[in-house]
Amino acid sequence: NSGVVCLLRPLLLDVVPSIRQTTALALGRLADYDVEMAEAVVKAGILPQLLCSLPEENRYYKKAATFVLRAIAKHSPQLAQAVVQCGALEMLVICLEDFDPGVKEGASWALGYIARHNPELSQAVVDAGAVPLLVLCIQEPEIALKRIAASTLSDISKHSPELAQTVVDAGAIAHLAQMIPNPDAKLKRQVLSALSQIAKHSVDLAELVVEAEIFPVVLTCLKDSDEYVKKNGATLIREIAKHTPELSQLIVNSGGVAAVIDCIGSCRGTVRLPGIMTLGYVAAHSENLSMAVIVSKGIPPLCLCLVEEHEDHIKAAAAWALGQIGRHTTEHARHVAVANVLPTLLDIFVDPRSSEDLKTKASRFKALKNILQKCTYLPALEPLLHEAPPNIMKHIIGQFSKVLPHDNKARRLFVTTGGLKKVQEIKAEPGSLLQEYINTINNCYPEEIVR
């Protein structure tokens, strides 16, 4: 293998330009295929030779050279670091200023792959002055160039708030926002992902993104036929919603919640995940907002997600979202309970087949606990009584003990459905909280029935 690379090396300096071009193309394809090949290309010291004559070459050579750089940089951060150390960034920036759109595309793709790996490399790319040129590239008419420039901006801004701020300072947001209504699906994917990477870092950046008037337009993306467009649109809305209650309020007011709910209903699989998390974040901020989510018929799709999905993290997210909705007041918990979701939650929690991931179990447990603590809707709690494990049982009995002393009809119902019998069967240590609850319940009934 390295024999080939050594043979190709002298061809790079050949007099005939077409030979140089085909050599560069061959090197690029070799490096593209495999990590070891890329490392071999780097070790053979080809990069400085490739780059030394780049500014004077014609556009085909530049395209092939950028292809080589991209192919090497995409495999790992070390290779990308090697590429940067050879002084590739200045050359790539020179290529970005070229007239030919193919050359610009190759250069921005290579920059994107370099910036993807870690923040230092992104900072290096930004220091080379690539960002204003990329923003210019976005405004070009060719769609492929726009796509790649948008994906590069998204890769740069995803690492840290300062980088995102640099991208914003170059005026990228306005152009990205203008491209949202564009009919091309892949372009929309990249644009939405770029905006969501910018918005996720801080409140100010999120507000800047919102001020670019994306709101009603982004909702049309949620109805697109392409799944990843829907996913990225939902991600953007999630990043905006999670910062402050005011931003969530904005989303609710513009009807975003309805669109997100429809989007969840129409997709399957991981694509649903950002939508579910959006609902969770919106509901988490305040009880008015979670009431708004309930009113927009948010609970049925979440239940469906819980039941249908096979992936554990999606189920955990759905459980978390339901927990956020139900935890504010009894009204909310009642709505959640009416949708018959508590038995499902319990089943998932108890199920030994579900993954051992502590976090998911803990989140489901917390969700269940939060809802139960506010739930006074007794018919929903009944079936749970029969199946629950001890730590859940504590909360259920606690709820019963809060409601039963006051409500006659509920007491009668409790006895007739065999709830009281079940309570007697529970053995609890004397002095524990559970025992106290059981005592309170027993005190509501006359002695004969208790025996």
């Binding site: 007099v15 005939v16 330009p17 077409s18 071009q21 014609n58 556009r59 085909y60 909702l219 049309t220 949620l222 109805k223 697109d224 036929s225 609710v252 007011n253 513009s254 009807g255 975003g256 919640v257 309805a258 669109a259 429809d262 008015n288 009431m291 708004a292 009113v295 927009s296």
Partner: protein, 284 residues
Amino acid sequence: RYLSKMATLIQKWWRGYLRRKNFREVVEVEKYFLKFSNVYFLQIQKTWRGYYVRKYIHNFYALKKYLKAVSVNNELVRYELQEYAEMKENEEKMKDLEKKEKEKKYQARKMHYLLSTEQIPGVYNSPFRKSPDPMELLLRQSKPLTHRKQQVKSPFADELYGWPTCKEPPDFVTSLPVLPADRQKPQGPFRDPAEVLQQRYKPVEPTLRVRESMYSSPAKAREPTGGEEWRNPIHDNQFLPFSSYHKNYEKYEPSLFKSGKYGQEAYGTKYFREVYPKKWIADK
């Protein structure tokens, strides 16, 4: 004066003493008063706070209205999004249909020989059918497809304008012009291609005489008039050779003023101004 000062001093002290005694009593009275009437004050404040909170901060009815507004807005948004999705679907279907139509038409043109003649019914026009197949109708309508001649695409097509005067060798030469297959292959010692290219594209080095005439004063004097000529033409139409060939493209359009309802008006040819014999003075 000293006396009056002393008197004022004593009166000052006495008044202060009296007031302070009074003050302590008043304070005690107040305390007792408050102890009993605190309840009433509290009640007023309680009712006020409850009212205020319910009316402005946690206004239940405002919340209900808000939620209703949210759900109405959601309905609207859902409806519009549904319309948008349907529109997109329709567009896609239309595009698909058009593509299929184009395919069918192309096929019909290619298979034009399947058309039925007077004597022999064609494949799509079986005598047992009541009416010909739609494919048959399509065949009748379509023009037969002629094979396009093989176009030798010139590899320098987009460099053509710059070629005779370009300073560098041409860009990536992928395809050489197609030569006939049975041509005798030229043999013989060829020069080094790099040398040839270098010679072909050597930069222009004009002789002293030519260079002088390029930058001499008569040439420089001619320059501005050239610019003037470009700037001040009266007639912007291109000069087209074979002007009678282009006659069809330049129809004469009579001006709106002269054209009447049924053709050209006589104004401009037969008479030039409106004539009011009644206004003439000379005859009288």
